[in-house]
């Protein structure tokens, strides 16, 4: 049978960076292809070329035997390519129906045919198990529901080839299972699916064939049934990856205690509801949960940018009177923020300026109100060499650094003063396997030295690998803590979905 999609020799350069290097492959009807690779391996670039967001420098794309004109999303849609982006392309203030119908009816038409659109959406959502109400405003939907809307959008346009870019990153385990069930139904209907991921277990669960990308090149192609996790991991990274070794460490003193803390809801954030949390030296506390359940608020509270409305904060058995970012720093809390671009760094300022941001007031870096640039530069150089940061110079603007190097710099800034408490919020999000391993080792080193670490992550595997105790957050509340290995993934998933939190 002829392939539904054929890519031949796709090459794309961004300046000196070779994002895709002569990539060729084919997809057959009814096949699930997994595109596996680290962040920055070129997966998303490749798919953006396929969908017409970027124009390839070389190579061609054919669908159903016909060449696809480059750089034209409309042509890609017409050719039956549907894409579910990692960051949803939905308008929040509009309804599900409006989002799906957008662009499907002639722009010159004097009437939007809502009735037929609604009928079709309802039929499809029933057929494929994608339950969603057509008149619901997208902004009120959960992340899982929004993803269903995205998939419906593609199906509504008769997509024959569905591309899913990291679709499970934002889902609970149960939602992931539901997504996989839907994908199986779609394949039965003859759709072909390209599933982009860096999670090995999902790739193995869902695909027929795996294509591995490394540094822009196709480094391997395997039939899923005939491969193993470790083989795929090796293809992905170029070497065998070992899980981090977690040595035994004797737990130490209580470093930070939140006692019955609640916060006032602000904007769209989730307020904390009577939270009690103790962080002990030499221990990593893992906080699992679906994004948007109050983790951001808890992190902001510990970082000092959010104030408690009630309850108390106790730092090394002293009750805190006035809580602020400066108080948090003074209390010895090292902060690794969730969004390194928006919060962690100031992109257009230099590496040196960024590393002294939290401490420029101290006598080490300033003298009678004047900055000591020599000391600052020396400090930046120290961090660059100690934390193995690849950067042109301490004067380089920090936005030019790759995600992994930026994170190493933030890690250096947070850990250099040997803080007694470390707030690590999504410390490895978007990093490649090598950088993830580096961050994990540094956190484990800090644990060995006796720091109390709160690891907030949406990646359950990361939490299970590192955390001495695991807590689940849901709707602004915390579950009881469980020691390493005490709860199964399924049990954690239940808690993440908000079931059984009452017992906590």
């Amino acid at each position: 049978m002829s392939p539904v999609l054929r890519l031949s020799g796709i090459t794309k350069r961004f300046g000196p960076l070779l994002a895709n290097d002569a990539i060729s492959f084919e997809v057959a009807r009814g096949e699930v292809i997994a595109l596996l690779g680290e962040n920055g391996a070129g997966k998303t670039t490749l798919m953006n070329i396929l969908f017409g967001h970027y124009v390839a420098d070389e190579g061609t794309v054919e669908t159903f035997g016909k060449a696809l004109p480059p750089g034209d999303p409309h042509a890609a849609l017409q050719a039956g390519i549907g894409m579910v982006h990692q960051h949803f392309t939905l308008a929040d203030n509009m309804t599900v129906l409006e989002n799906i119908a957008l662009g499907t009816q002639g722009l010159a038409s004097w009437r939007l045919d809502r009735a037929s659109a609604r009928e079709r959406i309802e039929k499809m959502s029933f057929e494929f198990g994608l339950a969603v109400h057509p008149e619901a405003v997208v902004g009120t939907l959960s992340v899982g529901e929004r993803q269903r809307v995205e998939i419906l959008k593609a199906l509504y346009r008769d997509a024959k080839i569905l591309i899913l870019d990291e679709p499970t990153a934002v889902l609970t385990p149960a939602e992931t299972d539901a997504l996989f069930a839907t994908l199986k139904l779609l394949v039965k209907q003859g759709l072909s699916i390209i599933f982009i991921s860096h999670k090995l277990n999902e790739v193995i669960a869902v695909s027929d064939r795996v294509l591995v990308l490394r540094a822009g090149k196709l480094s391997g192609e395997r039939v899923t049934a005939g491969t193993t996790r470790s083989e795929l991991a090796a293809l992905m990274v170029g070497q065998e990856v070992e899980p981090p070794a977690v040595p035994e460490v004797e737990p130490g003193e209580l470093q930070l205690v939140l006692n019955a803390v609640s916060t006032v809801r602000q904007g769209t954030g989730m307020a904390l509801d009577n939270i009690t949390l103790s962080l002990r030296g030499g221990e990593i506390t893992g906080l699992a949960g679906v994004s948007g359940n109050g983790q951001a608020t808890l992190a902001a509270l510990i970082a000092g940018t959010e104030k408690p409305a009630s309850g108390e904060i106790i730092v090394q058995s002293v009750k805190v009177q006035e809580w602020s970012p400066r108080a948090a720093l003074a209390a010895g809390i090292g902060r690794i923020p969730e969004d390194r671009h928006a919060v962690g760094t100031i992109g257009d300022m230099s590496v040196t300026e960024n590393v002294i941001l939290e401490r420029y007031r101290t006598p080490r870096f300033s003298n009678r109100g004047f900055l000591d640039w020599q000391a600052a530069r020396k400090f930046a150089e120290e961090i660059i060499s100690d934390y193995d940061v690849k950067c042109p110079s301490p004067e380089a603007r920090i936005r030019l650094l790759s995600g992994g190097n930026m994170q190493k710099l933030i890690l250096g800034r947070a850990l250099d003063s040997a803080p007694s408490v470390i707030l690590a919020n999504q410390p490895t999000r978007g990093l490649d396997v090598g950088a993830v391993g580096y961050v994990h080792r540094r956190l484990l080193d800090a644990r060995a030295r006796g720091a109390a670490i709160l690891l907030i992550s949406e990646d359950l595997e990361e939490i299970l690998a590192l955390a001495d105790r695991v807590i689940v957050m849901s709707k602004g509340r915390l579950s009881a803590a469980s020691p390493r290995g005490a709860r199964t993934i399924a049990q954690l998933g239940e808690l993440m979905a908000g079931h059984g939190m009452e017992a906590a």
């Binding site: 939905l90 929040d92 203030n93 509009m94 957008l102």
Partner: protein, 313 residues
Amino acid sequence: MDAFDILLTASFWVAAIRIASPLIFATMGELICERAGVLNLGIEGIMTVGAFAGWFTVYAGGDLWMGVVVAALAGATFGLLHATLTVPLGLSQHVVGIGITLLATSLTYFTYRLLLPEVTSPPKIEPFQPLPIPGLSGIPIVGEALFTQTPLTYLAFVAVALTAWVLYRTPLGLAVRAAGENPSAVEAQGISVTGIRMGAVMVGSAMMAIGGAFLTMSAFNSFFFEMVNGRGWICIALVVFGSWRPGKALIGAILFAAFDAYQVRLQQITGGVVPYQIFLMMPYALSILALILVARRATYPKALMIPYQKGER
């Protein structure tokens, strides 16, 4: 006559609707731009251009409706300039908008001087005359206020209905609203964000210019400097007051115009005890108050003022 009786006179309502008409056109124009994600601060200047272009067409011998068309085209031209700078080039919408206002206003005055160098008092044209609608114009007060107006006023109300219909009932309107909410959603569905936004700014600017032309061709019969007099800025506030919805913005425009018509009449009956500036100030003070009460929780277009660059992550 006391302060309350004013509200019962037909002439007060006639004036209110007449004062509202240019605001309605320009507010709809601004609303269309903003719904597509572009703040058009060129409104004040584009209204000035429309006022002059429409008037001059008639002064030079053209038909009144020809004047409206020329005003709209002149507005669309400045809209094209604004859109080219803010949409494909992605420049700051604030700076471009203020620049367009300054450019359009000065260029209009300059052109006026070039074309009419000898003039000392503004020449007059024969403006649009009231066109009573048979049957409806006989209704007391309402008939006079709503159905004994000039054709341009009727057109203003048609413009509101048309704007609402297009925005909410057509695929094009859906694309315009989506471009103001999340342009990448529009791009992902195969529609050009640039095309939608530029089109919206041009159509919106044409409507602003017709609003300006109303002043010289319906409300008054000549063009003079400073005649737009901040109406454009009021329209920006009216869009917010109306929460970016045509119907609510229409109510806002009529409300503001009613305040304005009211304060003039109130000045007359208080007989100089209160300084007249207090009354002049009243509509604006009330507008601010209304904004505070109404618009604080308005859901604004999420991508308003955010330039969209294709392929940027």
